[in-house]
Amino acid sequence: MDREEKILYENLHGFDDKTVMTIAVEYPALYRAARERIMKLCVHKTPVSFFKVNNTKSDMQTVTGTEIYHRPLWRKYMSSVAAILLIAIGAGCMMYAGRNANINITPNNNNNMFGAGIARTTESTSIEQPEKSFSKIYLIEPLSSSATISDVSFMECPVSETVAVTDITAETVQPETEIFTDCEFIPEDIEIPDNSADIIQEYVPENSIPDNSILDEEIPTEQPTTEEPASIIGAGDWYCLESNGTFIKYHFYENGVICGENLEKDMTYSADFNIREDDSLTFSRLTFNHSESTKTEVIKNGRICFCDDENFVIIWDDTQDFDIFSRYDFHEAFNQESETGS
């Protein structure tokens, strides 16, 4: 407080009575809180007897020790709104945490790398077996990679592009497609009967063809007969020519066909064709030559299925000289056979 204020404080007091009465009228200073405070003091100090009317307790003395607390109305509403907001936020957070916890807690027990519940061992082996030895079924790399005949000696079952070569037993395999169900081993040496070509039925299992193939378009859509595939087709190998020039080897077993491997592109063959009623050809002798080697394999009995009226797919047991890059017309096949011959 500076000097000037101090002088004001001192000199603005000690007025005469008349001035004080004027001040009390012109400058009333008792505000509500001060008035109530002083009133409460007055009632507290006043003897109780002075409030009794006809020896009964007056209402001024009924309640003591209470303090009138005047809080602005807006503060009451703000505090209520804040409390409600806090409760709502807390409940929302708890619900959100509970929902996320349920999602995170659910375990993912699917260890199948193929995504179809296929269980397999972790052992990875590569086994070379003779071409006609099918003691086990192995998964191979995707069909996009080519394999030589010498490398391929057993059935391969492409499941997906992420397939790796692992050792799988029949009990553990749960194929994605129906062609992989109930895979069984086949005898090592399969003798194909002479009359195995009596009935040739095209059997192209669903989902057995790689995604990048157009074999669906090449293979006739004729339905197989009601006879068991093995009795119709006979045990043995079926080779189908694709439009990209690769051969796909199919094996027929009692319960279906398992897709085979791709053979090398420049295999050639020749055959003695016999046209059947279903437009398939049988041949008694189909020679298949590998262009990059002198190896010649002879299929004694083969089966060919027509893709359509003109083109056909070579199916053979042995190999013959043939240009595998092209689809062959029936006549071309005969012409080529006469040219190449074995």
Binding site: N11, L12, H13, T19, Y31, I38, L41, T46, P47
Partner: protein, 186 residues
């Protein structure tokens, strides 16, 4: 309500009598007590003194006779005496020395010098009072509430429905005006 009526309701309705007393004479009692104690005592002491005044008025209400004087003078007298008593008690308590000791009700040795000093003091107070009144509203109110009643700027702003900064600025300007007025008068 007349003074006689108030005397009549003292027995029938003490609460109503009390409220009437407080409502009509609360500011007067407060001003009288502040006039005596304002410059040297705390707010609690002042409230305590005011409450004592009303208690004494109420307890001595039966001594009041409308024929001898007005209720207002009755209240004023009790307020003034009670304020002086409180000041003396508080002075002894706080060992405060104040110029109010030389007030008219206090015992002061009579001498020419004291009389002149008192008169000069009174003249100064009177001039100051007039100067404050000449400020006009709301400056005069701000000065009185701030330096007579000792209210804070916040309370003054609330009472006058003004902003705190505005009250502060007006108070500063009012003091400057007072300084000019008083210097001109001298």
């Amino acid at each position: 309500m007349t003074d006689n009526e108030w005397s009549a309701i003292l027995d029938s309705s003490p609460k109503e009598a009390y409220e009437y007393l407080f409502k009509n004479f609360g500011n007067l009692v407060y001003a009288i007590v502040i006039n005596k104690l304002g410059s040297s005592c705390s707010r609690e002491d002042i409230d305590d003194c005011v409450s004592d005044v009303f208690v004494e008025i109420f307890t001595n209400a039966k001594k009041f006779a409308a024929e001898t004087g007005s209720l207002k003078s009755f209240v004023s007298t009790i307020s003034k005496r009670r304020a002086i008593d409180a000041f003396r008690q508080l002075s002894r308590k706080y060992n405060a020395s104040d110029s109010l000791d030389k007030e008219e009700d206090a015992y002061v040795p009579v001498s020419e010098e004291n009389i002149e000093a008192d008169n000069d003091k009174k003249m100064e107070k009177s001039e100051l009072w007039k100067a404050v009144q000449s400020l006009g509203e709301p400056d005069s109110k701000i000065i009185m509430y701030q330096y007579f009643y000792g209210m804070t700027v916040v309370k003054i702003a609330e009472k006058l429905d003004m902003k705190r900064d505005a009250v502060q600025k007006r108070s500063t300007r009012a003091r400057e005006k007072l300084r000019k007025i008083l210097s001109e008068n001298r």
